[in-house]
């Protein structure tokens, strides 16, 4: 009796396992594909197996597991998931504090209790402002990015950045490494100190000196508190301890030669582990970057002329013309001089430019391998995560980008993207010849609506200014809508329409949640349209920033 029951149970288990094995959703095999591992030689025809978020095996002879969902990779190339080395993705900024003289707003978030003003609070982390959700990352993921470095973009100390994978319902699922580095911008605070670039330097200096001192005092106090006044518990200064100790890098946002030199001077003055972000003129300082061992998060947002031509216009300066001509050569020079660098999107609104500019860099002396490395393993090395990602090796995180065509070819399509082993399939467009590097077809050319728009919402009784940051990938839009009242909120269902764009967004205005639906007609750099709100329809207008 017992044996029979036992046998039935065994049979049931066996059946059950077979059935469930066929239904597993975390095992994939991409077969017959060209595989660019980056860490090793290119595999002209092979298989990559993904299981439970990790790369299980890769090779010309890698076995396809029985329980894998097979994706035929004929004609496709598999790359490690691309890394964008500096963004502000996923960060939701809370409503900005009111300026003095304006009426206090109800339900305003409490101000930080730091001793330092907004903008000089290095204790801020990107992670605390991140929110989960796959949808907000659709645009960069569709372009092939699986991993980004993200940090807020306000203030002098921008805060401590986080490296995230672009997929995850919760923040905890997204974070690969946090904090990575402190970020610093040569800005000033406008009206209060520091109100100029002069003050920015001395504020930075004094904070670092004070942090050094506080660390010493805290050590002293911990060893023997008797007879010694208690040193203050300053969380802003304490956030700088790893920076002054050299255990946390500090990323300086610097594009011009003199900005980069100033960053390197500060790094030398305080013995900091520096990284340069932007670096458009870094090639002019390559020798110094190499000797001080400073890597560069190189902006792929190459300068180009945006001003229309006009017979009355001033001629552009020679410096500007040269700058535009020379910037694409920068990566090759950095590579020749042995400076480590990774590519970042530099705030660009059309991610296709990332790849077309990377192609330009390879046409100006950068080897293709170096370019691919700059989007994968070199970025991972700069971030200190190279033993976990950045190449296609067994045991590494299954971040993969599958492309039809070569990654830098003008005609290419991203077909599949794996983020932490989860498959995101792209809808493939019919292949037609393109006329520009934007990857759009002549018959269905989408309006270029990506960019920063200064808008005004015409609410009865008042006009509310706001900003739209739209990132366009073919006809999909992602980005944020922000106003002083509601802070910054990500848009949903963003689409480029025949006449302009549409999206919906959920905002929090004074404690109430509102769902808004925007529909705008674009003409040149102007937009006008309507917003559906729970209280009715209002109109809005806007102008695009160059």
């Amino acid at each position: 009796m017992k044996i029979r029951i036992f046998g039935i149970v065994l049979l049931a288990i066996a059946l059950f396992s077979t059935v469930s094995a066929q239904n597993r959703t975390d095992v994939y095999a991409v077969t017959n594909a060209r595989i660019v591992t980056v860490s090793g030689a290119v595999i002209e025809r092979g298989t990559v197996v993904v299981r439970d978020g990790l790369i299980e095996s890769v090779g010309a002879d890698a076995k396809i597991p029985a329980d894998a969902r097979v994706l035929d990779g004929t004609g496709l190339t598999v790359y490690p998931g691309f890394i964008d080395a500096l963004t502000s993705l996923g960060i939701q900024t809370p409503a900005r504090p009111q300026t003095p003289g304006q009426p206090q707003q109800q339900n305003q978030q409490p101000q930080s209790n730091s001793n330092y003003p907004n903008g000089l609070q290095p204790e801020k982390t990107a992670v605390e402002d991140l929110r989960g959700g796959d949808a907000q990352f659709e645009t960069p993921r569709n372009a092939g990015f699986t991993t980004v470095l993200t940090v807020g973009n306000t203030g002098i100390f921008n805060g401590q950045s986080a490296i995230i994978n672009l997929g995850g319902e919760s923040v905890s699922a997204m974070v690969v490494k946090s904090p990575f580095a402190q970020h610093f911008s040569f800005r000033n605070l406008g009206i209060t100190y520091p109100a100029s670039l002069l003050g920015t330097f001395s504020a930075f200096r004094q904070m670092l000196l004070d942090a050094k001192r506080l660390q010493e005092l805290q050590k002293q106090y911990a060893a023997n508190p008797r007879g010694m006044k208690r040193p203050e518990d300053d969380k802003s200064l304490e956030a700088l301890f790893p920076v002054i100790n050299g255990t946390m890098p500090i990323v300086f946002n610097a594009n011009l030669e003199r900005e980069i030199n100033r960053s390197l001077d500060l790094a030398k003055e305080f013995n900091l582990k520096a990284i340069i972000a932007g670096g458009q003129e870094a090639w002019k300082v390559a020798d110094r970057l190499k000797s001080q061992n400073v890597p560069v998060l190189l902006s792929m947002n190459f300068p180009k002329r945006t001003a229309a031509s006009s017979p009355d216009a001033d001629p552009e300066s020679l410096a500007t013309l040269r700058f535009r001509a020379e910037t694409p050569k920068g990566a090759a020079i950095l590579s020749q001089k042995g400076v480590k660098f990774a590519f970042q999107s530099g705030g660009m609104t059309n991610l296709n430019d990332f790849f077309s500019n990377a192609l330009k860099a390879t046409e100006n002396g950068l080897s293709k391998d170096a370019a691919i490395r700059a989007m994968t393993l070199d970025a991972a090395e700069i971030f200190g995560i190279e033993n976990r990602t950045g190449s296609i090796e067994p045991g590494k995180i299954a971040n993969l980008t599958v492309i039809r065509g070569d990654v830098f070819a003008k005609e290419r399509t991203v077909t599949h993207v794996f983020v932490d082993g989860r498959l995101f399939e792209m809808k493939e467009k019919p292949r037609t010849p393109t006329t520009n590097s934007g990857g759009t077809t002549p018959s269905t050319r989408a309006l270029a609506v990506g960019g920063t728009w200064n808008i005004t919402l015409e609410v009865p009784g008042q006009t509310i200014p706001g900003t739209l940051n739209l990132v366009q990938q073919d006809t999909t839009l992602t980005g944020t809508m922000s106003t002083a009242l509601t802070g910054s909120s990500p848009i949903k269902d963003g689409k480029v329409t025949a006449e302009g764009f549409s999206f919906s967004v959920s905002v929090n205005a004074g404690g109430t949640n509102l769902d808004l639906a925007f529909n705008g007609k674009v003409s040149g750099n102007q937009v006008s349209g309507t917003v559906d709100t729970p209280q009715g329809v209002i109109s809005f207008t806007g102008t695009k920033n160059p």
């Binding site: 001395s202 004094q206 000196l209 006044k229 100033r262 945006t306």
Partner: protein, 466 residues
């Protein structure tokens, strides 16, 4: 011919460099047969100057040079010391930190911009050295930088390393914000009166004294906890110790006199009174204190406190034994300091050499660099200018400007460069990345009615927070 080929190669290889050095300071340069205005020992006619290793090696007639020396025939030309501008805001990315009334923690050295074309234009006006100052928004401003305008070199090369450090003070209308309506949201900053200005300075001196005391106590073991390193008070301690030169902007005689008395109370000697348009009224007092004065010759009445001056200001100060220099405080006036110096000969009759000193040796003394520059003497830095006529002539133009024996401006080469750069411009404008977008695009910059070319801290705005 060979020079032209070398020139072409250099230009084509270094498209990005704003300029290129035409003579290494290692080689010799011989300037032949000029009228040399030494600024100390009169004018020497038909005289040669031999430059070796960046220094003035010999001055005399019929000098011999090495075989590979560069020979410059200066027959009919005039050579003067390089002009020194004792008050300038050129080549800066920021001029004023106006938030606090004391911003001694800021340093001009942090915000230098070596790509500012005004540097090159200053060289074309014969200016070799400048005192780069913080603006006049505060009673106590930031730390200065004494620089030589080595156009094309890394910015670190500009700094005159052995120049004594300095700092900017300011008195009067700019400080108490008389002429600037407050911006929305901008807090009102103390001081709002001249008496408040003096109190701020007095208070800073006292705080610095206490700060120094706290460090002395710690070093002597009287206290066990190290005091805070305060980058605001450290430079003021240096003022009290006589190690940092104070350049005090002010117009009215009463406010300058107040400052001199306050300084004497703390055992401090003010190095220069900047602008000092009423300094002639207190010339004996200034001479007794030992301050220098750095003035405009004929620029006044643009605001109330700049009203009561006379063009004989320089003469009266000089006659009373005050060290007078003439400055520009402007990228535009910087280029014609030679003519400004000529004017003091007209008003009062300042002798020619004394007038020349006012833009050469006198500012060198005020900046503490007179041992190395400011006159044409053997052993000094070869900071020289070759003029087509006497620099005090309205017809005179700069042909060549030397700094430390290296040519940083050459008029014939400049003309050639313009041709080359025009060709370069045409090629660059053809590139796709430089062409206007096919459709849409932003409004291009169209010439406006009035163009501000200078950074004059006396006009509307004290330079502003740039």
């Amino acid at each position: 011919m060979k020079k032209a080929i070398v020139l072409f190669l250099i230009i084509s290889m270094s498209l990005i460099l704003p300029n290129f050095s035409l003579a290494q300071s290692k080689t010799e340069i011989l300037i032949r047969n000029a009228t040399v205005l030494t600024a100390v020992k009169g004018n020497l006619e038909n005289t040669d100057i031999l430059i070796q290793n960046g220094k003035i090696a010999k001055i005399g007639k019929n000098l011999k040079a090495a075989a590979n020396a560069q020979i410059i025939d200066a027959t009919g030309k005039f050579v003067s010391p390089g002009i020194i501008d004792a008050h300038s805001h050129t080549m800066l990315d920021a001029i004023n930190e106006g938030s606090f009334s004391v911003t001694s923690m800021t340093q001009i050295q942090d915000v230098l911009d070596p790509t500012d074309i005004s540097i090159y234009r200053a060289l074309a006006g014969g200016v070799t050295t400048g005192n780069l100052l913080h603006g006049s928004a505060n009673p106590i401003g930031g730390q200065n930088s004494t620089v030589k305008f080595k156009w094309g070199k890394p910015v670190g090369d500009y700094l005159v390393n052995d120049a004594p450090p300095g700092i900017k003070f300011a008195l009067g209308e700019n400080v108490k914000r008389s002429n600037f309506p407050p911006q929305p949201g901008q807090p009102t900053r103390y001081p709002r009166t001249r008496m408040g200005t003096m109190e701020v300075i007095r208070d800073a001196f006292i705080r610095a004294r206490e700060y120094k005391q706290s460090w002395d106590d710690f070093k002597n073991g009287k206290t066990k906890v190290q005091p805070r390193t305060d980058v605001e008070l450290q430079p003021i301690v240096e003022i009290l110790e006589g190690k940092r030169l104070v350049h005090a902007h002010g117009y009215r005689s009463d406010e300058h006199l107040n400052l001199l008395r306050l300084a004497e109370e703390f055992g401090v000697r003010i190095a220069t009174l900047q602008h000092g348009l009423e300094a002639y009224k207190i010339a004996p007092e200034i001479a007794k204190h030992g301050a220098g004065v750095s003035i405009f010759v004929d620029f006044w009445s643009y605001k109330l406190e700049a009203y009561d001056t006379i063009p004989h200001n320089a003469y009266i100060l000089w006659k009373n034994g005050v060290n007078v220099s003439i400055n520009s405080d402007s990228d535009e006036r910087m280029r014609r300091l030679n003519i400004d110096a000529a004017k003091v000969m007209r008003y009062g009759g300042v002798p020619e050499e004394e007038a020349l000193k006012m833009i050469t040796l006198n500012p060198a003394k005020q900046l503490g660099i007179d041992k190395r520059t400011g006159s044409i003497e053997v052993g000094k830095d070869a900071d020289l200018v070759i003029w087509t006529a006497h620099p005090f002539s309205i017809y005179s133009r700069v042909e060549t400007t030397f700094i430390d024996g290296e040519i940083f401006f050459d008029r014939t080469k400049d003309a050639q460069m313009r041709v080359e750069m025009q060709k370069e411009r045409e090629n660059l404008e053809k590139m796709e990345v430089n062409r206007a977008p096919g459709s849409g695009g932003t409004q291009p910059r169209v010439p406006s009615e009035r163009r501000k070319a200078d950074r004059d801290d006396a006009e509307d705005g004290d330079g502003g927070n740039q």
